[in-house]
Amino acid sequence: MKRNVAVIGGGQTRHAARRHDVNQVELVNEAVRAALLDARMTIDEIDTVLLGNMEFFEGCHMTDCWLADGLGAYGKPGLKITTGGTVGATIVSAGAHHVASGLFDTVLCVGFEKQEEGDTGAILSGVAHPLYGRSMAGAAVGYFAMMATSYMAAWGAREEHSAMVAVKARQNARKNEYAHLKLDITVQDALNSRMLAYPIRMLDMCPASNGACAVILADEKTAGDRCEKPVWIRAMDTAHNEQFELDWRDVTTRKPIFSKTSAARLYRQLGVSNPLDYFDVFEIYEPATWAEMVWYEDLGMCGPGEGFRMIEEGKTAMDGPHPVNPSGGVLSTNCIGASAMLRIWEAALQIRGDAGGHQVPGDVRRALATAYGGTNWTVLTALSRDLDD
C-alpha cells in the first residue's frame, strides 16, 4: 500500500446478551465515543466513517443511514460494507485502503450487532440457498458439529479437548471487563453442558451478544503527531470461498482451503516462515471450540492433527508460550458484525500493553488476527508495534 496505516485508537461496548438500555444508534455510539476518547480526538477530526454489520440480522435495511447520528457520520463521507462474520475485519481493511489512498488521514471504522433485536434463527437459516438446502439447513452448530466428528475421527481428539478450549476462552474472558460470557467453569462443566448437536455442547459454541467495536486508523504523519502508541497494520489478506462447497468441516480435505490459502499469502507478504516465532499473540475468530483447534493447524502453528495437542499442553493459554485469544475470543463474545474487528482491536491492545487484566505476560511486538464468516471466508490482519519490525 502507498502509505503506512496505524491503529491510533479504538473502543468497544460492554457486551451482553441484553442491552435493553440502548437502541442500535446508542449502542454504536458507545463504541464510537470510547474510540474517540482512547484516541483523544473529537468527531470533527475524523475524515470518513465506515460501517460494517450483518445486514438483515436486525431486520433492518440501510442501517448506516439510521445510525448516522450515533456514528458521527452526518455531513461526512462514508459507506457501509457487509461480508458476513468477517465484516468487522473487512471494514478495517477498507479503512486501511482509505488511508493508504492518500484521500483521507483519519478513518473511523465501526462494526456492531444487536442480536437480541433480530430473529437470529430465521435469519441464519436464510444463509442457505433458498431453493437448495434452506428447508434442510442444519445451522452453524450442525456445520461445526460435522467438523468436530471429522476431527475426532481423523486425529483421535476427544470431547475433553473441546472442553479445554471452552474453559480457556471463558476463564480468559473473566479477566476482560468487556466480555460477555465470563464463566468460572471447569472441563467437567463443559462436558456436562447441554448437547446441541453431537459432539457440540452449549459451552462449545459462541453466544449471541449485543455489542459494537470502533477503531480509528490514521496515516503515518497523523499517527506520529498525535498517538503515543500507534499499532501498525502490516498486512491483510482476504479469501472468500465458493457457494455450496464447505470443505472446512472435512479436516482431511486436500482441496485448497480459504484459511491456509490466505495464511500462505499473508506470510509471503511478511516473510514469515514460522508463525510461532513471528507472532507473539493470536486473536482468532472461533465460532466453536473445534474451529480454534483447526485454526492452529491452518495457520501453521502446528502440523495437521496436532491442534488438540496444543490446547492439551497449554501452549495457547494466556500465560503459555503462544497465547491465543486472551480476550476470551468469539466463544465468549459474539456480536457478529463487531467480532472480527474485536479480534483486531484486542490484538492492538496486546501490542500497546493496554489489555489490562488479560494482557499476556510476555513482550508483544507482533500479533495476528483472523476473521471468519459467510461460506468459509476469512480476513487475516497482521499488526506490529514498530514499523521497521
Binding site: H61, T83, A96
Partner: protein, 386 residues
C-alpha cells in the same frame, strides 16, 4: 501503484421488468462474462479484487454475496459487498486502487426487483422505533420530499412531468432500457396517482438486471483499452436520517459530495465544465433537485433549465441522455448504471444515445430514502483526465 484510476470496461444486461429465466447469479454472470470478454481479461490472471453491490433483503438471502461469490471471481480471493447504491462501489473501487493494494477491480451490481415487493423491502429502511410502523416506504417518502420541494420553489406537476417526457424519450435510443416512448406532459399527468404528487410515470419501474465494470490503475488500463475513462473526482456524504431532521427541499449531502469530487477534479464551474450528467432520478422531481445539489443551477432553478432545453440530449448540458432511471434500472444497480452510462459517453460508445464532444461527465447515485447518502463521480477522457 497507480496515481490514476480508469474505467477500462463496462457491460450491462438488457434491463427487463422480469427475468423469469435467470437467478441473480446467472444475471450477474451475463454482465461479468461480457465485460471480461470485452476487455480480454480473466479472473485468474487479471482481477485482484471484486466488489459486488446488492442487498440481502432484495436478494432474499442472508449474506447474499454467497450467491455470487462464484460468478464474481471471489473463490479464495478478495471479494467485498457494498451494501449501498452501486455508485459507491465505484467510489470504493477507486479508493482500493489508489491505495496501491489492487491493480484491477471487477465491480458488479445486480438486483431482481421482480422477486419481491419494493415497498415491503424499503419499509425496513425506516427505523423500527419511530417510523417503521407508520408503513412508510421510498415512494411515500419521496412524495413528501416532492411536495416540499415543489411547494418551496413553486414547481408545477407539468414541470416534473417534463423530466419524464425527456427521459422516456431519451430511453427510446438506449438499447438496454425497457421503459421508453414518446409521451406528452398530458400522458404523464393522466397516469395514475401513486403517492400524490407522484404518478405512476414519475417513478422508476420495477426492473431486473446487472451491470459490471472494470476499474484499473493507469498502466493496466492502458493495456486494456485505447479509451480509458479516468475517474478524476469522487465524493460521498451522509445526510441526517429522519425525514423531519432536514428541509427536504435542500440537499446538503449531495452538495458536499459534489464539492469533494469537484475539488479533486479541478471543477469550479460545473455548469460549464461538465459535458454530460447521468444522475439517479428514481422519481422525476429528483432530477431537478439533484441538479441543484450538484450546483448546476441555483436552488429552485432546475425546472427553468429543463424547460429551456438546456438538459435535453441536444442541449448545452445533457442530463440523462440514456433515459436515466426512469428508463428502467434496478434498485442498487442504479448508481453503477449511472457511472456506466457516463463512462460510455466519455468513451464514445453510448450507442444510439451518444452526446457529441463529451470530455467530462458526471455520475451521481444515492442510497436510502430521499437522498440520505449521495455519491458523485467525475469522469474524464483522454487529455482531460489529468
Amino acid at each position: 501503484m497507480s496515481e490514476r484510476v480508469a474505467i477500462a470496461g463496462v457491460a450491462q444486461t438488457v434491463f427487463k421488468p422480469k427475468r423469469v429465466d435467470a437467478n441473480y447469479a446467472e444475471l450477474a454472470y451475463e454482465a461479468i462474462e461480457q465485460v471480461l470478454d470485452q476487455c480480454g481479461l480473466t479472473i485468474q490472471d487479471d482481477i485482484d479484487n471484486s466488489i459486488t453491490c446488492s442487498h440481502d433483503i432484495w436478494d432474499g438471502q442472508t449474506i447474499s454475496n454467497i450467491g455470487i461469490t462464484d460468478v464474481a471471481g471471489g473463490h479464495l480471493r478478495n471479494e467485498e459487498k457494498m451494501a449501498m447504491d452501486g455508485s459507491t462501489a465505484v467510489y470504493y473501487g477507486a479508493v482500493g486502487i489508489l491505495s496501491g493494494a489492487f491493480e484491477c477491480t471487477l465491480l458488479l451490481a445486480h438486483t431482481k426487483m421482480s422477486q419481491t415487493d419494493r415497498n415491503i423491502v424499503n419499509n425496513d429502511a425506516f427505523d423500527p422505533i419511530y417510523t417503521r410502523k407508520l408503513g412508510l416506504d421510498y415512494t411515500s417518502a419521496a412524495a413528501l420530499q416532492a411536495r416540499r420541494y415543489m411547494h418551496r420553489y413553486g414547481i408545477s406537476p407539468e414541470q416534473t412531468a417534463g423530466v419524464v417526457v425527456k427521459n422516456l424519450g431519451n430511453a427510446v435510443d438506449n438499447p438496454v432500457a425497457h421503459n421508453r416512448g414518446v409521451f406528452s406532459v398530458e400522458d404523464v399527468l393522466s397516469s395514475a396517482v401513486v403517492a400524490d404528487p407522484i404518478r405512476r410515470m414519475d417513478m422508476a419501474p420495477d426492473t431486473d438486471g446487472a451491470v459490471a465494470m472494470i476499474l484499473a490503475g493507469e498502466d493496466k488500463a492502458r493495456g486494456i483499452t485505447d479509451t480509458p475513462v479516468w475517474i478524476t473526482g469522487i465524493g460521498t456524504c451522509y445526510d441526517a436520517y429522519y425525514l423531519g431532521d432536514r428541509d427536504l427541499s435542500e440537499c446538503m449531502a449531495l452538495g458536499r459530495a459534489a464539492q469533494r469530487a469537484y475539488s479533486m477534479a479541478g471543477i469550479t464551474n460545473p455548469r460549464d465544465q461538465i459535458d454530460v450528467i447521468e444522475l439517479g432520478e428514481e422519481f422525476s422531481y429528483q432530477e431537478l433537485l439533484w441538479l441543484e445539489g450538484l450546483g448546476v443551477c441555483e436552488p429552485g432553478g432546475a425546472a427553468a433549465l429543463l424547460e429551456s432545453g438546456f438538459t435535453r440530449r441536444d442541449g448545452a448540458l445533457p442530463v440523462n441522455p440514456s433515459g436515466g432511471l426512469l428508463g428502467g434500472v434496478p434498485a442498487n444497480v442504479m448508481g453503477l448504471n449511472r457511472v456506466a452510462e457516463a463512462a460510455l459517453q466519455v468513451m464514445g460508445r453510448a450507442d444510439g444515445h451518444q452526446v457529441g464532444g463529451v470530455k467530462t461527465a458526471l455520475a451521481q447515485g444515492h442510497s436510502g430514502f430521499c437522498g440520505q447518502h449521495h455519491c458523485v463521480i467525475v469522469l474524464q477522457g483522454g487529455k482531460e483526465g489529468r
